[in-house]
Amino acid sequence: MRTVAEFRVEYSQLLGPDGDAVGDLPPFARDVEELVRMYRMMTLARSFDVKAVNLQRTGQLGTYAPCLGHEATHVGVGAAMRAEDVLAPVYREVGTQLWRGVTMREILVYWGGDERGSDFAVPRGDFPWCIPIATQTLHAAGAAMAFKIRRERRCAVAYIGDGGTSEGDFYEAVNVAGARALPVVFVVVNNGWAISVPLCAQTAAKTLAQKAIAAGIPGVQVDGNDVFAVRQAVSSALEAARDGRGPALVEAITYRLSDHTTADDAGRYRQAAEVERAWRIEPLLRTRRFLEKAGLWDEDRERALLADCAREVEQAVAAYLSFPKPEPGAMFDHLFERAPAHLAAQRVMATRRADRAGGH
């Protein structure tokens, strides 16, 4: 027996749950504006989230997938990316999308059952929400391939959940990314659950970062409730990718503090004690404590921020609620650039019927 390969998986945390730095802080952590910007975006994501769940409960929004607890991962990834990079999100990455310029109104329009929500004004190149689990990882690999072929210094970032790592598409994506040294970073959001299925039923792998080993690419694990660690890990992965040094996988360990979606009842399958424990290490509080300990934050600023966020959210909700409903004919729009004849006929049928029924 001869050892022919050796691997290790490293874990990094920079900011402990109490807001103390537990590792060497990267330069951005000394940039006050940037710090506040990150904290602000995490807070905005949470304010939005609470409101969106509320809108669903009151019948004003469709099924919605909350981001509660994921704010550090989402904002860390957003902050690590450049505008010209491309994001392939799943359905929960509110924080990253807000950071990149998707508006809250667009997000609401989408979950409100209207395709126009995916026609982001900014960023035009990002992929839309992706419901079929793991499929987006291949889109990111393809985007990265396009960048590589055209020799552009751009990267793709794909999100995927812990459950998603069981799907074939995910492995195919990391494998092909490795084989072709594509500029893509896979962010595995390990929030412990895939609806009702806990991670231990999903895989025997001790870490999800080690899934990268199968593809021959680097994989690291970070505290996903630590916005510094996430940003740092994703930044250096992106830097390597941009420099032609190939892809990487970052596992961010966090927790889904909410139900899976508004259609789910997590109380059916998980213990309250587990959720309580997770609240003790959630991402916002530790960031706030860090800022406070650094003298950059206090109760007043917090109140002002919350008020600000609430106002922004309310504005978005108002814009969403007053957004005109789509016309029935819209379901034929954009299927093809050049619509075949029979679709025009069907459109007339659908539109007439809506007229007769008195519109919507």
Partner: protein, 322 residues
Amino acid sequence: MVEAIAMAHGWEMQHDERVVVLGQDVGANGGVFRATLGLQQRFGGDRVQDTPLAEAAIAGMAVGMAAQGLRPVAEIQFMGFLYPALDQIVNHMSRLRYRTRGRLSCPVVVRMPHGGGIHAPEHHSESVETMLCHVPGLRVVCPSSPARAYGLLLAAIRDPDPVMFLEPARLYRAVRQDVEDDGRALPLDTAFTLREGGDVTIVTWGAMTAETLRAADELAGRGIDAEVIDLATLSPIDTETILASVGRTGRLVVVHEAARNVGLGAEIAALVAEHALYDLLAPIRRVTGYDTVMPLYRLEMDYIPGVERIVAAAERTMADSR
């Protein structure tokens, strides 16, 4: 209807220990629609298993389990997530008996919600029965009431070959009916004539059955006497029942939620145009989903056929008669 489905599982698992249930969230959670509610508590974690999040694995393992003597009932969470499982279903499940000349077989049931109308996100409202019906070696079933769901699911689990079991999501909670838990199966391959009528035959299935029955009531008020056939087993088609009815009425309307182009309505129309052309008094009409993507929920009811469109099609069929 969802209770009837859980009940059928329970009966058959109680009476046949080869029956096992697998899928995402089918265990503690009882399925996202609760179609497997209580089964894991009752039969244990070996016989009711949550799988990892991988549809190809669900279908592919079901093939292996069935080949080695189990009777797996697998759940695909929504029909829009069927595609990763299709390779295993088409290339193996439907063919293992054929390929090995009967040495190995695949008595698997693959259950999945079917159709829209529940305000769900994208991919949660698909009705692509065409893709399954076109595959030789599969039976495809779609119940339209709790009683038929119970009886047909029992038949599906007992069938020695793979059965795709499509459950209209819109009916899961909408329709309630007392169903006796007597273990009695309904015949596969047989359509149900839900309403007799002499003017026009309307063939439909799944959630569209309720709409069609409502349309028939409305038509009756307008002096048109519609016969309503719930196809129930979508493949193989019970051609006899359809031809006999069209023989009496001379008119055919097919109603389905799926897109029109190469929808199952096409097959039914083609069968009639081949075997009963001279019975036809009017062109065959199809009332279907449009040939576009099932839209997000704001427009889904504009996509899905409703009473109004069915009534209009039947009336036009009467008017167009020669």
